[in-house]
Symmetry: C2
Subunit: 347 residues, 2 copies
């Protein structure tokens, strides 16, 4: 990805991210005389303080402007989206036994599973509080609609996460591409793309968007984003990517590459592949993991996934261009740049 696009994306996200972060940190509790509670507060602030990309809040604010709304009215909701991402990944990191998050140890690696689950729950409360603070600037009806939207987001995200976890739990390998896509749409795409867009429209009081069309756009874009994330997990630069490179193979995740490889491998290779992938995390050696990478190379699975992501991204971009934006054309232009970045990013 050319440096100038990354720069221009940073230009778009940085201002919004800064404003959202300011709001988040002014709303999260800072200090408490009881030492234990001080630690809880520190834990709640830990992930938000590790700089993320701020994609979801930026999408929310830009969509609000593109639909003709006032960007300031979208900031608390954008902050609530960022808080969602932060608390849900505290729990996801435990569930997936992940080791790194944004370049540092996952919260439960530093403080144990018990305290981390609880800190995630506490942070979830702050997300709802942030959403509720909209009462000061938005119509009560809109606030209640945003609540419904966030609840649907939680339903979808936990459904998607449950599907992925139970595949690992139950040793399921007989999956097809549609199983994966359905999981992705729920686990990632809905909260990453659909909700920021629909929330932006609600805040702008814009009801001209066809629900079906815009949801399809968001699901396609978000799925392309997740596939890209899965690819980066294999071939990315850990310093940029911030998660453990090859961690998905250690975790035994059913990515598009895995499904493609299993569908195209010879019987012998399939057996070899599964004998490694089925091992639990701590029984996999580094050479096991490189062997899996060799299978991916042999069957062109990474290239296949890259093509899939590109097709979905192309479709999403077409659907985006078919939408009507009564608001800021600058916001629409910025959205275009951001969408390009999301499916071509290297971090």
């Amino acid at each position: 990805m050319p440096d100038n696009i990354v720069k221009s994306v940073n230009g778009i996200t940085s201002e919004i991210k800064e404003e959202v972060d300011r709001l988040i940190f002014s709303s999260l509790p800072t200090s408490h005389p009881v030492k234990e509670i001080q630690l809880l507060y520190d834990m709640m602030r830990e992930y938000p303080s590790r700089t993320g990309k701020g994609l979801r809040p930026t999408l929310c604010v830009l969509f609000c402007q593109a639909f003709g709304g006032d960007r300031n009215l979208a900031i608390p909701t954008a902050a609530a989206l960022e808080l969602f991402q932060n608390w849900i990944v505290i729990h996801d990191d435990i569930e997936d036994q992940s080791e790194l998050r944004r370049g540092k140890p996952a919260l439960h690696q530093e403080h144990g599973i018990a305290l981390a689950i609880n800190a995630g729950d506490a942070l979830a409360g702050r997300m709802w509080e942030m959403l509720l603070s909209n009462c000061k600037i938005l119509d009560e009806r809109v606030v209640l609609q945003l609540f419904s939207l966030f609840l649907e987001m939680l339903n979808r995200t936990t459904s998607g996460q449950h599907i992925e976890l139970s595949w690992v739990e139950n040793g399921r390998w007989d999956l097809n591409e549609e199983d994966y896509m359905n999981m992705c749409r729920n686990k990632t795409a809905y909260y990453t793309c659909v909700v920021p867009m629909v929330a932006g429209a609600l805040i702008a009081s814009y009801d001209g968007a066809s629900k079906d069309n815009s949801e399809r756009f968001g699901l396609n874009l978000g799925t392309a984003f997740q596939i890209r994330d899965d690819i980066l997990n294999l071939v990315g630069d850990e310093a940029k990517y911030g998660k453990e490179i090859l961690g998905d193979i250690f975790e035994g995740k059913r990515t598009l590459m895995v499904i493609h490889c299993l569908q195209h491998a010879s019987d012998e290779d399939k057996q070899g592949f599964l004998s490694i992938m089925s091992k639990s995390r701590h029984k996999k050696s580094e050479s096991d993991v490189y062997k899996i990478m060799e299978y991916f190379e042999k069957y062109g699975s990474i290239g296949y996934a890259r093509n899939s992501a590109n097709s979905l991204a192309k479709l999403a971009k077409k659907q985006f261009e078919e939408m009507t934006f009564p608001g800021s054309t600058e916001a629409v232009d910025n959205l275009r740049t951001l969408i390009d970045f999301m499916v071509n990013r290297e971090r």
Copy 2:
């Protein structure tokens, strides 16, 4: 506790509990064509389907009536309280490494930690959804006040839980009675007694209650309730109690008995006591646990805790009698019976 009181309590709770359960089960998702999601739905319904006592929803409905409100208007909030209890204990059971919940294996013992954390999050969403459904029957302003109250409840409960967990995590034994009481007020009393009462008042649109007085009543009653729970964990009948008897000793919980014993034991006994209590759960033998019970007996720690609970209960009852109830006198009578049960129960 005499059988006739238990019967009369069952009479009070059963009708409300039945109505609340009906609402909960009609709102929770039942079936899904995707096998994995079906399991998620089953997991979400598991704890609600294990009959609890229904104390919190009953308190909420009775307080609403006592404050002059319509009982029917309190049912969804009572159901949301019951859902809170259910999702938070899914997470608590993982955090405390508990084995039993309501006489059956804890959810994570049956399905693993990962799926159980996620199911807890999904169920939390249904709690907020239930609370939001109040929009159909209550003024929007009241709905938003209930949201704030539930958010404060989540803050308090996670703070209390964090304090207790970090004592175990950090091997803290230098605790005094006030440390314990403060933890209890946050972890248990606020959501068990204060919130059901304040929610009842909000729904009844009753603003004649002094916030401080009624909160003090709820905190005292709830703390007495938790001390009673801790005592039952030692001397209760597992079949009635539904949790693992002596589990708190295995888990190394800092109960009032533990704090009392440490404060009164000879240096030698203190050392012996701590050498057992400091062991991790799986390193404690049954005879270790019985040795702890002997220390409790030697220093009268259980009797001391029983007296503390009784004093708090007496104080709470006095504070209850000082409150003004403009509504149903039958509800006030029923509350009296329930309060007696809560601090004298054997299950």
